[in-house]
């Protein structure tokens, strides 16, 4: 049928450079049949997802056409190779580095030896630990269908990792995932699947960096599974250089009585569009979600958060705080979703913005979508400049205006910054904030 054919062609619109031939080429880079199969399945999913347009509410403020895929090149699957050590390495059990076309996994405390903890590239996981990784490829952490870029990440990743913590394990110091990219023109596509077993405890820190002045791109897709009674403490630090373009789609699925503490820190990048969702999939699930962002210069950062409650008796609390300065533009879109039957849900969402000058802009759109009753939901947002009375108060105590502004901006971030579990990350936040205040 002509109409059907036309429809199909429309749906097949691909992101530039990410078509069937690219998918086949990528699959051909691996000799592992399970991986080739997985690539095929994910490509079929990706192909069916329509391209986003500015007409979609989520993309109204960030034109999807701005992502320069046509100027960039997909990197081949990143091979294992040597990566430089880093000052933070000593603070973690396992360090995964992805650095300029090579990855490296280092086990500092020997946790990988016992087999209780698995940190491996996805390809190796599929080949050697199919029983452990398969369940998390079949059951998705996403509470909703992926958008085009998330699906792209699922299908075309070139740096994939699987982190699995067996039940009842305390991975106290946890895993550091560091991405450092410096070559111009390449698209790094990390894909990370984390599964924390029942009653386990895991810590994860991700750090993303690139030098200023180099145009490059990264598309990240991540899924986190937190099993019954488990706890995952995760910190995501985005400190990309000033010409890096970044897209991310992250989802966490929380089982019964699972707890997620997630802090997102968005400081770098020229153009950033990130989505983050948590799903209270079983009763007792508890998500504590915090975020800080500081957009300066000509930065554009667009963040969408979804607090999904698929199950009754689930809890989520979200606080995102941001500063916009110079000609920067920040966007926050929040959504609390209570699915039918999700009674006795307790959800809180708040977004506060400081806009430091006239040319800067912050858009804040908190939101609720409630299909259940007997629940407690609240959301709110603020956008404004520094408080004149607070400034005057500090100045009356002898503190000059520039220092007073700095103290108030730092102070604005401090409630969230104080919750960052790692001192070294907190220091980066403080130095980024100070540098941006100028």
């Amino acid at each position: 049928m002509a109409v059907g054919l036309e429809q199909e062609v429309k749906n097949e619109a691909f992101v530039a450079g990410f078509d069937e031939a690219a998918s086949r080429a990528l699959a051909g880079e691996s000799a592992v049949p399970a991986l080739r199969e997985l690539r095929e399945v994910r490509f079929a999913e990706y192909r069916a997802v329509p391209l986003p347009t500015r007409r979609m509410e989520e993309w109204r403020r960030t034109d999807p056409a701005r992502f320069p895929f046509e100027r960039m090149k997909r990197l081949p699957t990143i091979p294992r190779g040597a990566c430089a050590p880093h000052a933070w390495d000593d603070l973690f059990d396992v360090i995964v580095s992805v650095e300029d076309g090579a990855f490296d996994i280092r086990d500092r405390s020997g946790v990988l030896e016992g087999g209780q903890v698995l940190v491996a590239p996805l390809e190796q996981a599929l080949r050697e630990h199919a029983d452990r990784v398969k369940p998390f490829l079949e059951k998705r952490a996403r509470a909703e269908a992926p958008d085009k870029f998330e699906a792209l990440g699922d299908a075309f990743w070139n740096a994939g990792f699987f982190i699995h913590v067996a039940p009842g394990v305390e991975l106290e110091r946890g895993v550091l995932l560091r991405y450092r990219q410096s070559g111009a023109g390449g698209i790094l596509i990390p894909r990370v699947i984390v599964a924390v077993g029942e009653r386990s405890r895991a810590v994860l820190v991700e750090s993303m960096e690139s030098p200023d002045g180099v145009e490059l791109m990264s598309v990240v897709s991540r899924e986190f599974h937190v099993a019954e009674g488990a706890k995952l403490q995760s910190t995501t630090l985005r400190a990309w250089g000033d010409r890096t373009v970044h897209l991310a789609g992250d989802w966490a699925r929380l089982s019964r009585d699972a707890r997620l503490e997630w802090i997102t820190l968005n400081f770098g990048g020229r153009l950033t569009k990130v989505r983050f969702g948590s799903d209270g999939a079983e009763p007792g699930a508890n998500a504590e979600l915090d975020g800080l962002y500081f957009a300066s210069g000509e930065q554009h950062v667009d963040q969408k958060t979804l607090q999904v409650h698929s199950s009754p008796d689930t809890y989520s609390r979200l606080l995102y705080k941001g500063v916009a300065k110079d000609k920067a533009h920040s966007v926050y879109q929040g959504q609390i979703v209570a699915r039918p039957g999700a009674i006795r849900v307790d959800a809180y969402q708040r977004n506060n913005n400081l806009v430091l000058n006239d040319g800067a802009r912050a858009d804040s759109m908190p939101g609720l979508q409630i299909d259940a009753d007997d629940l407690k939901c609240s959301h709110g947002s603020t956008v404004g400049n520094l408080d004149e009375d607070e400034l005057f108060y500090l100045r009356c105590r002898g503190i000059d205006e520039a220092s007073a502004r700095k103290a108030l901006i730092r102070g604005f971030f401090e409630d969230v910054a104080g919750r960052i579990p790692h001192e070294c990350v907190r220091e980066v936040v403080h130095s980024q904030v100070d540098a941006k205040i100028g």
């Binding site: 005057f392 009356c396 105590r397 002898g398 000059d400 205006e401 102070g411 401090e414 409630d415």
Partner: protein, 258 residues
């Protein structure tokens, strides 16, 4: 009166906010070693005067001078006035989220008294000592400044700041309002610690109560943006009994010095 200028002197000060005149020629002299009280009906301009003395950017000085040690400070930034030794205990202290009391005070003390003049250990010792004196629990020092503090706790925090900054001239804007009887005694005890030849004080209040603890040498009455009456401490009793109508009837618009 000698021709010598006072340590702190306001001459015919006029100020307006959003084009609306509030202060209409305020004159006042305060020497170190003196306690002054300023009373006046709601809306008469007491807090405006305090804010203008500190250089609040919302108020425009349309006339007159403020002299501190003979220097006209009208054009100075608030922080410069504070560094010269002026202090205001606010009627409504604001919260500074994200800045702990200890950090706030360290920054302020460094700015006002000079980093090189106060060693960290010395600062900590002074802070501990002053907190104990004002019966401020140690836990407060690690809380964010005034964030979630009760009205009385905020007022006590103002006095703790004053003790740490050791100003030459201090204005206390209704520090007594909202304090319970015990807290008022503690706060007054704190203030009296500074009272002496190196310290001049202007206490803005609506009540006689605090003046039983901080004895004023002079009392001024502000009405409609002007000091209409200045006198000795005995005026307090008269005012308590007769109210402001008595002042209005008796002295009308003219400025009177008893």
């Amino acid at each position: 009166m000698s021709a010598k200028t006072a340590d702190f002197e306001i001459r015919n000060l006029c100020a307006s906010v959003e084009g609306k005149p509030i202060l209409q020629g305020v004159s006042l002299k305060i020497n170190k070693g003196e306690n002054h009280a300023l009373m006046g009906p709601n809306g008469s301009g007491k807090s405006t005067l305090a804010n203008v003395i500190m250089g609040h950017p919302a108020y425009e000085v349309t006339g007159g001078d403020i002299l501190f040690h003979g220097q006209n400070i009208v054009e100075l930034e608030p922080e410069e006035r504070a560094r010269l030794g002026l202090f205001l205990a606010f009627q409504y202290p604001v919260a500074i989220p994200g800045v702990t009391v200890a950090k706030f005070l360290k920054t302020a003390v460094d700015a006002v008294r000079g980093v090189q003049n106060v060693k960290p250990a010395e600062f900590m010792k002074e802070l501990r000592e002053n907190s104990e004196y004002l019966e401020v629990d140690k836990a407060f020092l690690n809380r964010f400044m005034n964030d979630g503090f009760s009205g009385g706790e905020k007022k006590r925090m103002e006095i703790l700041q004053m003790l740490m900054l050791k100003p030459g001239i201090a204005i206390m804007d209704e520090t007594d309002s909202g304090l319970d009887i015990d807290a008022l005694k503690i706060v007054s005890k704190g203030v009296n610690r500074l009272v002496g030849p190196a310290f001049g004080l202007l206490v803005i209040t609506h009540y006689e109560r605090i003046l039983n603890y901080i004895k004023p040498d002079h009392l001024h009455i502000l009405m409609q943006g002007r000091v209409v009456l200045s006198g000795g401490p005995e005026l307090v009793k008269e005012l308590e009994q007769k109210g402001y109508d008595w002042v209005r009837e008796k002295f009308g618009e003219e400025v009177l010095v008893v």
